[in-house]
């Protein structure tokens, strides 16, 4: 390689990067110093790049015995004070749910990249899909909070990995990046942000005496960092329901369980305005909106351009944060347009959620593919055309 990714970012020159490589380089820029994973298509390049890059910067790469062990090791490393990452695809993501639940319950910052492929089971290992978007939200048992981000480009694979770590540190929660086989394996020339311009959240220490630690507790507006294992704070970390103040398990008191359960949800949902990011494209005066995310948003973008060029007022709402769901942005869109088109590489997973937020204020048209093929601009345009029955479309 003529120039390293870090050097290119510093020099402000474009570099040709693959989506999975961009995740790995974004992780290095975010200060990740621990990765544990298990090989699985189409995510493996993330592990391969980090097995080389992490030791160079003093970090640790471990190939574990399976995906359960990978996310478990990530939890352990994070508890020991390191920013920690794992990456996988559908079958591995299913195995990781147990420990994602543990990380949610025990409030362990970490990031899980799921490079989505066709499923269920072994499915279509080399083809893109978006079938894990609901699993990202509800995959583990019990009530919990989660943040999930969806990159649509190689550049976002980089920047959203940095943001995922910032969110996970700030809210002490696992953050999931939902990439897919197209985004992960695509190469684009990208000019990355200068390292000095990147906001990177650091793990702090609670500013209290170790003896006082059991008497202070996080609030929704002030989530205290957890001291690392092997510190004078002598923390107890558990997957049992625990008293939020002392950290001690308490499975007998319904009030303790209610307090923790509400807190785990509200520490995310109370801050959804700060967390949620949505890109709106050509929504000015739009009559029809396409709600698209990940690789499908790239096809939707082409449709918006084509429609606008022909005078049809089509816009796009692209969630960058999929969870918490961008309810406010969708509600705003529903007030404005008469139709929302939801193309996705699954069957109705997010269109249900869109319908719930639209609340009948606009027509919702869902369109799903589960054959491992991309949704093309032409397919989406055919969904748009009937919504402009009075418009004369030129052949292109």
């Amino acid at each position: 390689m003529a120039i390293s990714v870090t050097e290119a970012a510093k020099a402000g020159v474009p570099v040709l990067l693959q989506g999975n490589e961009a995740v790995a380089e974004g992780a290095i820029a975010a200060g990740v110093r621990f990765y544990a994973g298990y090989p699985i298509t189409p995510s493996t390049e993330i592990a391969e790049v980090l097995s080389r890059r992490l030791p160079e910067v003093g970090g640790t790469f471990i190939q574990m015995e399976d995906e359960i062990a990978s996310i478990a090791a990530v939890c352990g490393a994070s508890l020991a004070g390191a920013k920690a990452l794992t990456a996988t695809s559908g079958p591995g993501f299913s195995l990781m749910q147990e420990m994602i639940g543990f990380a949610s319950m025990a409030q362990i910052p970490c990031v899980i990249v799921d490079v989505m492929r066709g499923g269920p089971s072994t499915g279509l290992p080399t083809d893109p899909a978006q079938g894990d978007v609901m699993q990202a939200r509800w995959g583990t048992h019990g009530e919990h909070s989660v943040i999930a981000l969806v990159p649509s480009s190689v550049e976002e694979c980089y920047t959203l990995t940095v943001e995922a770590f910032n969110l996970s540190e700030q809210y002490r929660t696992p953050v999931i990046i939902l990439s897919d086989a197209l985004i992960g394996h695509m190469r684009e020339a990208v000019t990355l942000p200068h390292p000095d311009k990147l906001r990177v959240a650091e793990r702090g220490m609670p500013d209290c005496d170790p003896d006082e630690y059991d008497t202070v507790s996080s609030t929704i507006d002030n989530i205290l960092p957890r001291p690392p294992l092997g510190s004078p704070f002598k923390v107890h970390v558990t997957g049992l329901v625990y008293n939020r103040r002392s950290g001690a398990p308490d499975t007998a008191d319904p009030a303790t369980a209610a307090d923790l359960g509400r807190y785990l949800r509200e520490k995310i949902y109370h801050h959804r305005d700060a967390i949620v990011r949505v890109e709106e494209v050509e929504m000015d005066g739009a009559e029809v909106a396409i709600f698209a995310y990940g690789s499908v948003a790239r096809s939707a973008m082409a449709v918006v351009k084509k429609a606008r060029a022909q005078g049809a007022r089509v816009g796009m709402v692209r969630p960058i944060t999929l969870w918490p769901f961008p309810t406010a942005a969708v509600a705003r869109m529903a007030e404005q347009v008469r139709t929302v088109i939801v193309p996705e590489m699954n069957i109705k997973q997010m269109s249900w959620e869109v319908e719930a937020a639209v609340k009948g204020r606009a027509k919702v048209v869902d369109y799903g593919r589960v054959d491992g093929e991309l949704i093309t601009p032409e397919e989406i345009l055919e969904l748009v055309k009937p919504e402009f029955y009075y418009h004369r479309w030129e052949d292109t």
Binding site: F34, P55, T60, A72, A84, E98, L229, G230, P249
Partner: protein, 295 residues
């Protein structure tokens, strides 16, 4: 016999593998290492005895309690995490060793003891167990082996013996039991020892030996479970159960040609070798990567 190929042996196994001899501590000294004097363990359970043995070993070795981390799994034994006044992690069922591997790799300065039950370690966590042993991660795993699932009310575990009864083996268990020490040795553990709740001082010593050893140490602590295992099999009387344990356990040096069974097994340090340790290997790898990166 080890199941590893290409073992990077550092030196031959030491001739004398006697563990350190630890002087017992007073109950007041032990109590200072406990968050609470209350446990949910049944009367007659060995878990309290093994917990005390661990604290005795920690005190005897003068380990800084602030640097000590106890990572536990799920089951009766896992509850130890909430009782000990150290940094403690109560992980998910079977996952303690994988969590501990991540913590140790991220911060090799931590002294980590992993506590697991027999089902926790050898059934749901079996994969993590053999791989932690193969990697020779510098962890000390203490397996509380009561030959049954106690927390869920007495079901068959991978160390329940052939013919034993449990709530899921009412006609007698048709599966043979694992010998956890043999399994650990075969998988590459470099310190393997067994102790019993009956032989308290010996248990303290072999735990201390495991903590001192640089590499993956496995101590199988034979526990009595009068409430479930004993009631269905040997005896529901804790004192009688402990007396039987004394009969069944034979010091390793005297065991040589005997045939192993659940009523005849060796105790003491069963295997001790020196081999490249995982986090040391990682540190060397980082050095090489840095040099290559700057070349």
């Amino acid at each position: 016999m080890s199941a590893l190929v290409d073992e990077q042996r550092l030196e031959a196994a030491p001739e004398d593998c006697a563990p350190p001899r630890i002087k017992p501590h007073t109950t007041a000294e032990i109590r200072r290492h406990l968050r609470t004097p209350k446990t949910l363990w049944c009367p007659g359970c060995s878990n309290g005895t093994i917990t005390r043995a661990l604290i005795d070993a920690v005190l005897g070795l003068a380990i800084d309690p602030e640097k000590l981390v106890v990572v536990a799994g799920i089951g009766c034994s896992g509850r130890i995490s909430a009782y000990l006044e150290y940094s403690t992690v109560h992980t998910a069922h079977g996952r303690a060793l994988a969590v501990a591997t991540g913590a140790k790799a991220a911060d090799p300065g931590l002294e980590i003891v992993v506590v697991m039950g027999d089902g926790d370690c050898a059934a749901i966590g079996g994969n993590h167990f053999i791989h932690a042993a193969r990697r020779n991660v510098d962890l000390t795993a203490i397996v509380f082996n009561n030959s049954i699932y106690g927390m869920t009310g007495g079901q068959t575990s991978p160390t329940t013996h052939l013919g034993d009864k449990s709530t899921t083996s009412v006609y007698g268990n048709v599966e043979p039991a694992f010998d956890l020490c043999e399994l650990a040795h075969a998988a590459g553990a470099t310190y393997v020892a067994r102790g019993t709740a009956w032989s308290y001082q010996q248990l303290v010593n072999v735990i201390a030996g495991g903590i001192v050893h640089k590499g993956f140490s496995m101590v199988e602590a034979m526990a009595v479970c009068p409430v479930y295992y004993g009631r269905f099999n040997l005896t529901p009387d804790p004192a009688e159960f402990l007396r039987l344990q004394k009969e069944h356990a034979v010091p390793a040096a005297k065991f040589e040609d005997e045939t192993r069974s659940h009523e005849r097994y060796p105790i003491g340090v069963l295997h001790h070798a020196e081999r490249a340790e995982f986090t040391t290997g990682l540190a060397g790898l980082k050095e090489r990567a840095r040099e290559a990166g700057h070349a």
